[in-house]
């Protein structure tokens, strides 16, 4: 206590010394002398036997490191204090040591023996921190020592030390990759660890050292799924990402058959003109289904989906997103919807989080629009949003637009145009253009709206809308000659060069649709040619050339006049263009080979620009990854593997006696009772034949007992409800767990382990019967 009070006296002094030091200008005095001197007194303080002085010195040194000053000459003086009894000093020495050990390898070795002693300390915190610092010292000579320390710590009593060992593995690996085989052994051992504390850290190590050794996961898969809820949140993220990859290699695509069903459903829809056909159609569908092996979700696949679902409620955005991408990549289509709500909830977070969420939502909306449609309003733009978020929200709104909601969306867009944020207004106008191209019914409305915008006083609005109108008209010019006429009239008023140029281009391109007006526009333009901006002049020349080729009787003289004006223009681009055009279109005696093709060259049919989302092809990156955000491959990005054609053997995940159920015999019995059909199921599945499946069905239905009767759809609903209440129970279990009661944890795990498999068998039965016998149950459910 006396030391701490002495320290608090010092505190006042430290800030008063620290402040001027910071403002110290090296140029004003002799750098060497002052530096030398200051370090000298630090050394003196470090050598003293008062802890408070040492602490003060260390604090000042750390502050110097923070400012980026070199304090490596203090290394010998500091390293001596590594054995200091005061834990506060000790920790600061560690900070210093990790920073400079690489530069001063020989001196760093002096401290090793202290750490080795620390590894044997009875206090787990000291053991852990000794291991952590030891493994952070990047000196190759100590690799064997580190290896030994990690191996020992991996079988330590304390889970905290084992966790630290897991963290040390990638450090050693990066220092010396040749240790890989030995390290994998340690990882394998730690993967089998039963505590939640270790699980996250060891998976991190696994991902860095040997992500390709997916076989190490098999035996631990179910355990990881069951532990997941209780793992520390940052560990959850890593585990979920790893399990996503695992599931992609081990399970079948749940949406394969659904694609087939959808096709089948459509064919009945069109074929149902005559009622008597229906039965035949059903037969056909049945055939198609039976040709394809009926899809049955692997119980382990279901286990993963079920156990990650409650994590959508997590307070950590990273966890929510990890689960969301897991569902997006792994879940059957019908179940993906649950993530929408959670993602929308993230939109209320910091703007940085919003930005990342919206990027991912934008990608998802392209593939699965229906998922976010109910939350349309959540993507409305707020006046306080920063521009980049506004633009992303616009993107999402545009992707969500459909025949039913387009009128609301357009009304919303209308108010956005009044915004003061120019980039945003421009993006809105482009968004309107995209809506118009995708939804034919509103194209005219949009066009009219955009034409009205042409009279806006804001240059940017006008220019942007002219450009968008131009694109829209290019798609079907024949219908809209009146708009082209309207725009021709606008040339008198619009002053924005870009917009004028666009209009002229449009008139030139479609001069056949406005044969009377086009020459007149050219006449007016020829009058004002000298006062126009350069881009407008170029377009006037283009217009003249096009008209000359199509309507030379009326415009010959005008074209000549314009070309003459251009010939003496100040801008060489314009002079060049005029010369080129003249050679190309005006027939002379020594005309080149090209002029024959003048019409083809200038009046070629230009393809209409395609307005599509910039997020269109982003989905080949795994959602939630950095690569997805950047839209380029970031270093170390692992592609999500494709679903396998045939399911790999599911029995590799079987564990003889799940160790975490060893708490009481009664519970064990309960567990076994359910586990039995569970396993026979999965074995039966490895053979694709129908008979094996139906056999396992009867086995599972006998296990699930009374639930087997009744219609399938009802039961699946029931099991849904149960899973909800399960979630609550899990929450409770989690809280109880924080009080460190082992048996309760095991019980909660058990409960979690049993319930999913039970309800699973029921849904499976329902599916089987539906697929095989009566399509009448199946078809309403599937639609």
């Amino acid at each position: 206590m006396s030391a701490s009070s002495a320290f608090s006296d010092e505190k006042g002094g430290s800030s008063s010394v620290g402040e001027p030091e910071y403002g110290h200008d090296p140029a004003s005095g002799g750098i060497f002398s002052s530096d030398y001197k200051r370090h000298d007194d630090l050394k003196e303080m470090l050598d003293s036997n008062k802890d408070s002085l040492k602490l003060e010195a260390m604090k000042r040194i750390v502050a110097m490191i923070a400012r980026g000053k070199n304090t490596s000459d203090l290394f010998p003086a500091v390293v001596k204090n590594v054995a200091c009894k005061n834990i506060e000093v000790k920790k600061l020495v560690y900070v210093y040591l990790v920073r400079y050990a690489e530069e001063q390898q020989d001196l760093a070795l002096l401290s090793i023996s202290t750490f080795q002693r620390g590894l044997k300390d009875p206090n787990q915190l000291i053991r852990a921190s000794a291991l952590r610092v030891l493994s952070s010292i990047r000196v190759t000579i100590i690799v064997p020592i580190m290896m030994l320390a990690i191996k020992e710590a991996a079988s330590d009593m304390s889970p905290y030390v084992r966790k630290t060992a897991a963290h040390a593995i990638p450090k050693l690996y990066s220092l010396d990759p040749e240790q890989k085989d030995q390290l994998i052994e340690v990882i394998e051992k730690l993967l089998a660890d039963k505590t939640t504390l270790v699980a996250g850290s060891v998976v991190m190590a696994f991902e860095e050292v040997c992500p390709e050794r997916i076989d190490l996961i098999h035996k631990n898969y179910r355990k990881l799924c069951n532990l997941l809820v209780d793992v520390e949140e940052w560990g959850q993220v890593v585990i979920i990402n790893m399990l996503t990859r695992y599931a992609r290699t081990q399970f079948l695509n749940p949406n394969l058959n659904e694609c087939l069903l959808e096709e089948g459903g459509e064919s009945t829809f069109y074929g149902s003109d005559a009622d008597q056909d229906e039965d035949e159609d059903e037969d056909k569908k049945d055939e198609a289904l039976s040709k394809r092996k009926p899809y049955v979700m692997d119980p382990d696949h279901r286990l993963l989906l079920r156990n990650t679902k409650p994590l959508l409620q997590s307070r950590n955005a990273a966890v929510v997103m990890a689960v969301a991408q897991l569902y997006f990549h792994l879940a059957p289509k019908a179940e993906v919807g649950v993530i929408a709500k959670a993602l929308v909830r993230l939109l209320r977070s910091h703007s940085e989080v919003q930005y990342v969420v919206l990027q991912n939502v934008a990608t998802m909306t392209i593939k699965r629009r229906g998922m976010f449609e109910p939350y349309l309003k959540s993507f409305y733009i707020r006046s306080t949003d920063p521009t980049q978020i506004k633009v992303l929200k616009l993107e999402v709104l545009t992707n969500l637009a459909s025949e039913t909601n387009i009128s609301t969306i357009l009304r919303e867009f209308q108010t956005y145009i009044k915004s003061m944020d120019k980039d945003f207004v421009a993006a809105t106008i482009q968004a309107i253009g995209r809506c118009a191209t995708h939804i034919g019914e509103v194209r005219d409305t949009c066009l009219n709206g955009l034409v009205q915008l042409l009279s806006n006083r804001d240059e940017l609005v006008v220019a942007e809308s002219v450009v968008v109108i131009k694109k829209l008209l290019q798609m079907q010019p024949e219908k809209h000659s009146d708009i082209i006429k309207h725009m021709a009239k606008l040339t008198d008023n619009i002053q924005v060069p870009m917009a004028r140029a666009s209009i002229l281009w449009l008139i030139g391109e479609y001069c056949e649709h406005v044969p009377k007006i086009a020459p007149d526009v050219l006449r007016k333009m020829a009058k004002t040619f000298t006062n126009e901006e350069d881009i407008v002049k170029l377009q006037i020349i283009n217009l003249a050339a096009k008209l000359y080729l199509t309507n030379s009787k009326q415009t010959k003289l005008l074209t000549q006049y314009v070309l003459n004006l251009a010939k003496y223009d100040q801008n060489y681009d314009i002079r060049d263009r005029a010369r080129f055009i003249r050679q190309l279109i005006v027939p002379t005696d020594k005309c080149g080979a090209l002029s024959k093709y003048a019409k083809k060259l200038i009046l070629a049919l230009k393809p209409a620009p395609i307005l599509e989302s910039p997020f269109k092809d982003r989905d080949h990156f795994q959602l939630g990854s950095l690569s997805h955000l950047l839209n380029t491959k970031a270093g170390g990005y692992q592609e999500l593997p494709d679903w396998p054609q045939d399911a790999p053997d599911p029995s590799v995940r079987n564990v003889e006696v799940p160790e975490w159920t060893k708490c009481s015999s009664r519970e064990k019995r309960k567990e076994k009772k359910v586990e039995k059909p569970f396993y026979s199921d999965s074995e039966g599945e490895s053979g694709p034949t129908e008979s094996a499946d139906s056999e396992s069905d009867s086995a599972s239905s006998s296990a699930s007992g009374s639930e087997q009767s009744g219609s399938g759809s009802e039961e699946s609903e029931e099991s849904e409800e149960r899973s909800d209440s399960d979630e609550e129970e899990e929450e409770e279990a989690k809280k109880r767990k924080t009080q460190k009661k082992e048996p309760i944890e095991a019980l909660a795990n058990l409960r979690r382990g049993t319930c999913p498999s039970r309800s699973l068998t029921t849904t499976r039965t329902a599916r089987q019967t539906a697929a095989n016998q009566s399509l009448r149950i199946l078809s309403p459910r599937q639609r």
């Binding site: 990638p170 850290s201 990273a318 997103m321 940085e352 309003k377 270093g635």
Partner: protein
């Protein structure tokens, strides 16, 4: 995986720099600052790349908080981690500012050491970390007379002590060993943010109220706290309780440490508050409000004979008479090229000005009592005013603060601590509603 973490002041000074994996050079800091300052616009992108290095940053407390990474790690993890780091440092240093970071170099390094190991995040829980952290926070307390006024004659409790000094809630959690320890206090804040869009016809088009109950605890030994909410509090549309006056929210989520066994029956949250700041409960109400929206606007916009734009704005505050709004600021976008503004306001403490750079008239009202109605007349000189440019007026944005008021009507009935704290424990409950985005279309 995190390669480096650094904290920069807004001027680009290096405050904290820590390299975890030795993958990237130190020039990354300068590279980052150059990138950030080179960009114009209101917010630089969250993720930026420089050669092989990716920067993820957030801005809080006027500082840049940056992590760099070379590998493909989830950007969510990094952003979320930075946010957690700021709350951690706020918990440990008391407040988040350049000064507090500068004064606590050693503490922050120690924290970083425990939080991140070799670029992997270990834990960000204030509670767990408390076991490991040894360094004490250094705080700066400006001397103020206000503190003295709390002490009554002969040290007796006076009336004033019913109001906590404003700095009381910004201090580090680890003060138990320091001299200012002793005081065990608990702050419970109910903070609501509303975003509203009102159509030109006065109809509510969209309402969202996001609320949270925040607990900031400085109690070293508190086993359990019970927070009682309104009894008629209901979640979702289906379970309305009693008649009419229910306090309803659509969604509700709780901190994982909250025990809800009494919530269904009595609407009591049981928490074991650990030291530091926590959001105990978050809730959302969308699409309808229990009472009228706090502000209504009745605008009249026309062109007078002299070619000027006349805006007559009547603003009514529909709060109950006892409450009032403060720091109300009304922003009216005006046509481009508006030159000058002449104004008639109803009282001298209000202010209005035309800001050409944002193309808007800003009307500031420092205090606006409930039930009152204020009006303002603005005359704008706009050269070449046409009917089309009249369309450029609006939508009007409002920002305000409603102290001691919640729009959902959520109240805290009681706050009980067990075991009963000896002597000097103090409990504070505060309510406030902020405008997130309050837009009235014209």
């Amino acid at each position: 995986m995190i390669s480096q973490i650094f904290i920069l002041s807004s001027k680009g000074d290096h405050l904290i720099y820590k390299d975890f994996r030795g993958e990237a050079g130190k020039d990354a800091v300068t590279a980052f600052y150059e990138k950030v300052t080179a960009l114009t616009g209101d917010q630089p992108p969250v993720v930026m790349s420089h050669k092989e290095l990716h920067f993820v940053h957030i801005r809080q407390g006027g500082l840049y908080w940056v992590v760099t990474t070379t590998a493909d790690s989830s950007p969510f993890t990094l952003v979320e981690f930075l946010n957690r780091l700021t709350t951690l440092i706020k918990d440990y240093c008391g407040s988040l500012s350049e000064k507090s970071v500068r004064m606590n170099f050693a503490l922050i390094y120690e924290l970083l050491d425990e939080v991140v190991d070799n670029g992997y995040i270990q834990t960000t829980s204030t509670d767990i970390l408390k076991n490991f952290i040894q360094t004490e926070a250094v705080t700066s307390k400006p001397f103020s007379l206000f503190d003295l006024s709390n002490v009554g004659l002969f040290g007796a409790e006076t009336q004033q002590s019913k109001v906590a000094p404003s700095a009381a809630a910004t201090r580090p959690i680890m003060s138990s060993r320091g001299d200012q320890g002793g005081k065990s206090e608990i702050f419970v804040d109910v903070v609501e943010r509303m975003s509203v869009v009102i159509g030109s016809n006065g109809v509510l088009m969209k309402v969202d109220v996001e609320g949270e109950i925040r607990v900031k605890c400085y109690m070293p030994s508190c086993l359990e706290m019970r927070i009682g909410l309104n009894e008629e509090f209901s979640i979702g549309k289906s379970q309305l309780r009693g008649y009419g006056a229910a306090v309803r929210v659509d969604e509700c989520s709780f901190h994982q440490a909250v025990k809800l066994d009494e919530f269904d029956q009595h609407r009591i949250l049981k928490v074991c508050p650990s030291q530091g700041e926590h959001v105990v409960m978050q809730y959302l109400l969308s699409d309808e409000l229990p009472s009228a929206p706090p502000f209504r606007l009745f605008p009249t916009i026309e062109r007078d004979n002299g070619g000027r734009l006349l805006m007559y704005l009547k603003l009514r505050c529909d709060l109950p008479p006892k409450s009032s709004a403060i720091n109300v600021s009304v922003t009216v976008p005006v046509p481009k090229g508006s030159l000058s503004l002449s104004q008639e306001l109803s009282s001298p403490d209000q202010k209005a000005e035309l800001r050409p750079e944002t193309r808007a008239v800003h009307w500031d009202i420092p205090r606006f009592p409930g039930g009152a109605q204020l009006s303002a007349l603005f005359k704008l000189e706009v050269p070449g005013l046409s009917s089309a440019s009249m369309m450029e007026v609006g939508p009007v944005g409002l920002s305000f603060e409603l102290p001691k008021y919640t729009c959902t009507g959520l109240q805290i009935r009681f706050l009980r601590l067990t075991p009963v704290q000896p002597g000097s424990s103090q409990r504070w409950v505060r309510y406030v509603t902020h405008s997130d985005s309050y837009t009235i279309r014209i």
